[in-house]
């Protein structure tokens, strides 16, 4: 058993599912599980943390913490670490978590392993696996020295536990010195997409250069929206200007591990496979039966995506009815 502090991430007053994975895993292992929430007017989120397994919730609230900055959030998380004195600190490997944890590790002289895809608690330590070379290989992590053990975990690696309804959190406020900050958020420009982010989604539908135009991605989007999925793309599709770089899956884009990955018209270059091969179930749709993508696919459909994908959307709609 260990004392664990989980950085529970919120944006616009909404907690991230990925944070619940960490709370659940820690509580299930019988650890003394603390949560820290950072933001402005976020105390109301404490009960939700309790329902996913936090026995104590620490809340840092301030106008200067309304939006994420590395500098201000690092001060708040360091304050939480000083209050709790945990053996282990966990966060999700999200744009916020992956930016924040290294700064905090440097400030508390902790040992940090990032982007872990499996985690198990063993006494006061952690057993971790993480992909290297963008998933072309996997490695075990060994912590050295006596510093706090810290890790960021890739979303969807553990699974979200069932919340326990009606829990009331044991919550306390943290005091954070926020004087003399050098970084300031001028504005957060919202994305224009209602779809989930490609790194957080449970299902990803990706398209390659065979889509032939940005317009043709409509059929990918329709399938994605039917499944509540994110839209991904191969590097070739991004370089051709069909999709923005933020949708790119692969070694020089996002690395994802959803429960279902549907690759449409993607041949499966080594760099693309590196970005998605840890997905739990892979479907490949391609006209070329020799395409390397079929070697990692659980289900292979040799066929024209312009016919198969709309048919698939129709079948999925039927299933939902």
């Amino acid at each position: 058993m260990a004392k664990v502090l989980v950085f529970v991430e919120q944006r616009d007053g909404k907690l991230k599912k990925a944070s619940f994975e960490l709370l659940g895993a820690s509580a299930k292992a019988g650890n003394e599980t603390h949560a820290v929430i950072i933001g402005d007017g976020v105390a109301g989120l404490a009960n939700e943390c309790a329902s996913y397994g936090a026995s104590k919730v620490h809340v840092a609230q301030d106008g200067a913490l309304k939006n994420y900055t590395n500098e201000a959030y690092a001060r708040a998380l360091v304050a939480a670490i000083k209050t709790v004195s945990p053996e282990i600190v966990l966060a999700s490997h999200t744009p916020m978590g992956r930016d924040l944890l290294p700064s905090v590790a440097a400030q508390v002289d902790g040992a940090l392993a990032t982007d872990c895809t499996s985690l198990a608690f063993s006494g006061a330590s952690l057993t971790l696996k993480r992909p290297v070379y963008s998933g072309k290989a996997m490695a075990d992590v060994e912590y050295m020295g006596s510093g706090i053990k810290m890790a960021t975990v890739r979303p969807n690696s553990i699974g979200v536990p069932k919340p326990e309804a009606g829990k009331t959190a044991d919550a306390t406020n943290l005091t954070v010195d926020l004087g003399g900050l050098k970084t300031k958020i001028l504005e957060v420009v919202k994305g224009n997409s209602a779809r989930p982010d490609v790194t957080e989604a449970g299902v990803v539908v990706s398209g390659g250069r065979s889509l032939k135009s940005a317009d043709n991605f409509k059929i990918i989007e329709e399938l994605a929206d039917t499944l509540g999925a994110a839209v991904g793309a191969s590097r070739a599709a991004v370089d051709a200007g069909y999709r923005p770089h933020r949708d790119q899956v692969g070694q020089t884009g996002k690395v994802v591990s959803p429960s279902l990955y549907i690759a449409c018209g993607i041949s499966g270059a080594i760099q693309h496979l590196a970005g998605m091969r840890t997905s739990k179930c892979i479907v490949a749709i391609n006209t070329d039966p020799q395409a390397p993508i079929f070697q990692v696919a659980d289900y292979g459909v040799v066929g024209d995506l312009f016919q198969v994908v709309p048919a698939l959307t129709a079948e999925c709609k039927k299933l939902k009815e």
Partner: protein
């Protein structure tokens, strides 16, 4: 302006990874080494700022074994003025590398902006920019896809999830890590590649930068290739039949929809 770029040399993205004998790393035989792709955006950004600000210099720094000098030469060929190579063992982790880079930066008279790529594509740790920023006591802004410069203030466009951006204002000195979209990196011309071969690379030892193996915080071991996947199920028929069979399998067998 005193501009710095920290870069890392990594295996080319085409590389098929082979694990070495004891699983502590990879078999380096036959690997083609390149500058990590995100670092190219960092070098390019520094060069563009230099070109707009007379009297500026761009210094590239790397920490790694001897072969990594080649990555410095690539940056010199792109147009960097100076290069520093800190000798660091192959097995160093992010914390050790960051201590080495921070130590080299602290030896410099004045540091205005330090650029990084958002992550290196070998260990993909995405830690070093923020660690270095903390070690040298300056703020950091990560995953930046656009920068407006206004005197000593930077307005950075930071990419976050769901196609959203944070517009972050920060003042120098600062660490910025760049991502694709920041700029289009230039190609080095042949004459510049030839010239870069003759430029001096300043060598620094761990003692010179005040770092030591005790700065290492984690170690990778037991490297394994992902288990080969069993051949998947081929779904036959016309498009309508394939779609029907696939949805049935995903729903009943794989239970993912």
């Amino acid at each position: 302006m005193n501009l710095y770029v920290c870069i890392k040399q990594v295996p080319d993205t085409e590389t098929k990874i082979k694990v070495n004998g004891d699983g502590s790393g990879i078999d380096a035989a036959g690997i083609k080494w390149i500058m990590s792709p995100y670092d190219e955006f960092a070098v390019e950004e520094a060069l563009r700022v230099k070109e707009k600000n007379a009297g500026s210099t761009v210094t590239v720094i790397t920490a790694g074994p001897d072969r990594t000098v080649e990555a410095l030469r690539t940056a010199l060929a792109m147009g960097a003025d100076n290069a520093i190579h800190v000798e660091l063992p192959e097995t160093a982790d992010s914390a050790f590398a960051a201590k080495a880079l921070a130590g080299a930066l602290k030896k410099e008279a004045k540091v205005d902006i330090v650029y990084f790529g958002k992550e290196a594509i070998d260990d993909g740790a995405a830690q070093v920019p923020q660690l270095v920023a903390t070690y040298i006591g300056v703020p950091s802004v990560g995953t930046v896809v656009g920068i407006e410069y206004n005197g000593t203030t930077l307005k950075c466009k930071r990419e976050i999830e769901g196609g959203a951006f944070e517009m972050v204002e920060v003042s120098q000195p600062v660490v910025v890590s760049g991502s694709k979209g920041l700029n289009e990196p230039r190609y080095a011309t042949l004459p510049n590649i030839m010239k870069a071969k003759k430029k001096e690379v300043k060598k620094m030892s761990l003692a010179d930068v005040g770092a030591s193996p005790s700065d290492q915080k984690i170690k990778m071991k037991g490297l394994q290739l992902p288990p080969p996947k069993q051949a998947g199920k081929k779904i036959e028929g016309d498009a309508a039949a394939q779609a029907k069979a696939l949805v049935t399998a995903l729903h009943n067998e794989a239970k993912v929809i």
